[in-house]
Symmetry: C2
Subunit: 350 residues, 2 copies
């Protein structure tokens, strides 16, 4: 199952809002359809959003009939702006769009067909690298877990959320293959039930022993000493290690600390945003109130009620035991370990 | 609006599972219908359950055609046993059923009509005393709040949950009349949405500025310093002050402590169970998995998923800033302040 893919000149994605009841695949040549899908969470998960946006840029540039590099650049700038506005928090979106621009910059003297092909190759590279990062994250993360571990996770960080086998979920499935996983507690993840709908569906297919709980049952489960580690993903990690992730992550980190349970974040380095000094600088997206007041179009809440519906919260670096990336396991102090990544990266590119 | 009442020989209650969309009142002379209502949460809220159970005993004794005191006692014992099995955690249920038995014990030499009338009077006294306790709890609790307070609450503790104006919610509405309430954050309270459906509905009618949030948004709201106090109810308070309340209360108490926010419990003394030494001795009810996997009959979760669905969790006494009762505000150490209540009670009855 591939969340988002390039198939014969089209972007193909699974509509995650319809899962697990219906497996509906959408194929489109319209970059705006991809943008809508990101906005509506038909495509979701920070890495998957980044890959989808890169493919959307390819679609846009193929759709346009301009041929001069400057006209292509103008089109690219417009489309990147449009796609950047779909969701504000996950940095992978911006990172992937930047890569597409940088790719164009390297190609800008080429013929238009070569530019278009070059952009496609860049998007495919982003996809491939994400899949590879997922695999390595799983291997690194699994080393953190002992045999018989009981894990708690939040939201969805599986294949659906990435171009590969997931981030936090890759740790779980990789560790499961090593017989390290006894049980997984899955937070249902209100308001959009990514845990109940997506993570449960994916883990059931993997044959992993999972137990679904409401988000606020996590306290009791930890109090009863049923959890050995909390592992979640991230949508943006600041230079100091503060991490934005699905709302409800911060309370889990506090609960984990209180109960002496390690709290791990698993994310590709593309989720790290060195330009954001700390969590305070991360914009938290607010979603439409109807996502809280309604379930499947049925109103649950009292009519006329005001809603605060942030999609994310910020977990301070101090609460994070380790950050598992495809370039190794980062430890405290994160400002140092994250800066260390940058130095190595600079070295590679020099 | 009265959650449960005695009207012309019948128990009349509002079916809380249908709120806020439909205001359906049920009238019945069948005690089993009342027991079912408690089991299905048509009647819910620890104090309201207690009052309903007392009325159910009256119905049962009136329905039965036995007339000898010993036959009535046998019937009473059977019915009390049946009603006791409806829900295991809220102690008010057991306390009220004990009061009904004690009332019978005082009357057991009387004629059957007098016994029936005496039991009705006892149930009405329970109802009246609960309403009065709610009013006084509101007044005591309001003294704890400063002007312009922003409150966070969980589940429903209003008129629906009691025979009066509520417990924690009575504190909120009483303080609001004193212009002390700037804003109330209401946790939606999964899985049955008592916050979204019931508390929101009740507070909107009171004209209070309320904001609905998903349960796990409470962390962000506190992190953003938007909460001055957390006030919740309780279903059972142990002799040491540990308190069982709707699942999700314990994480709130931990969040409150972490953010330096006072955490108050408001409950009538009938919720205190001196026979339970600590929270570890409280039975936590587990509900049907379908309450988590389905919303309004529509399946949300992946098919075949296993669920852990506790209705309550336990907040350790150490996390509770004060317990507001109709007999005053209890403070740490609760084993002493709760024992003090018992001494005074003994004194009153002597």
């Amino acid at each position: 199952m591939t969340s988002v893919d390039w198939v014969a000149g089209k972007v193909r994605f699974i509509d995650q809002t319809k899962l697990p009841d219906q497996e509906v695949y959408v194929e489109t040549t319209e970059y705006r359809r991809v943008g809508d899908a990101i906005r509506k969470l038909e495509i979701r998960g920070a890495p998957a959003i980044g890959v989808a946006a890169a493919f959307a840029v390819v679609l846009a540039v193929r759709q346009s009939h301009v041929s001069s590099p400057s006209a292509i650049e103008k089109e690219l700038t417009r489309v990147v702006g449009e796609l950047s506005a779909t969701r504000p928090t996950a940095v992978n979106l911006f990172a992937c769009l930047s890569r597409m621009r940088a790719s164009f910059a390297r190609l800008h003297n080429a013929e238009s067909d070569l530019i278009r092909e070059g952009l496609l190759q860049e998007a495919l590279a982003i996809q491939r690298e994400d899949a590879e990062a997922c695999r390595i994250i799983g291997e690194y993360g699994a080393t953190l877990l002992s045999a018989g571990s009981s894990i708690l996770t939040h939201c969805n960080t599986g294949a659906l959320a990435t171009a590969g086998q997931g981030t936090a979920q890759s740790v779980i499935t990789t560790a499961a293959k090593l017989k390290k996983i006894a049980r997984v507690y899955v937070d249902e993840t209100r308001p959009l039930f990514q845990g109940a709908r997506l993570t449960s569906w994916e883990l059931l297919k993997e044959g992993i022993d999972l137990t679904l709980i409401t988000d606020s049952t996590a306290g009791l489960v930890m109090q009863q000493k049923k959890v050995d580690a909390v592992i979640v993903g991230a949508d943006r990690i600041a230079a100091n290690g503060d991490a934005a992730n699905k709302v409800g992550t911060y309370p889990l980190a506090i609960l984990a600390e209180r109960h002496g349970v390690p709290f791990y974040i698993a994310a590709p380095t593309s989720t790290i945003d060195r330009a954001t000094p700390s969590g305070a600088a991360i914009t938290i997206e607010e979603r439409d109130p109807s996502e809280v007041t309604h379930v499947r179009g049925i109103r649950i809440a009292a009519e006329g009620v005001k809603v605060f519906a942030p999609a994310f919260d910020i977990t301070p670096a101090a609460l994070i035991t380790a950050i598992v990336t495809e370039r190794g396991i980062l430890k405290q102090p994160y400002n140092v370990s994250i800066a260390g990544l940058a130095v190595r990266e600079g070295g590679n590119h020099a």
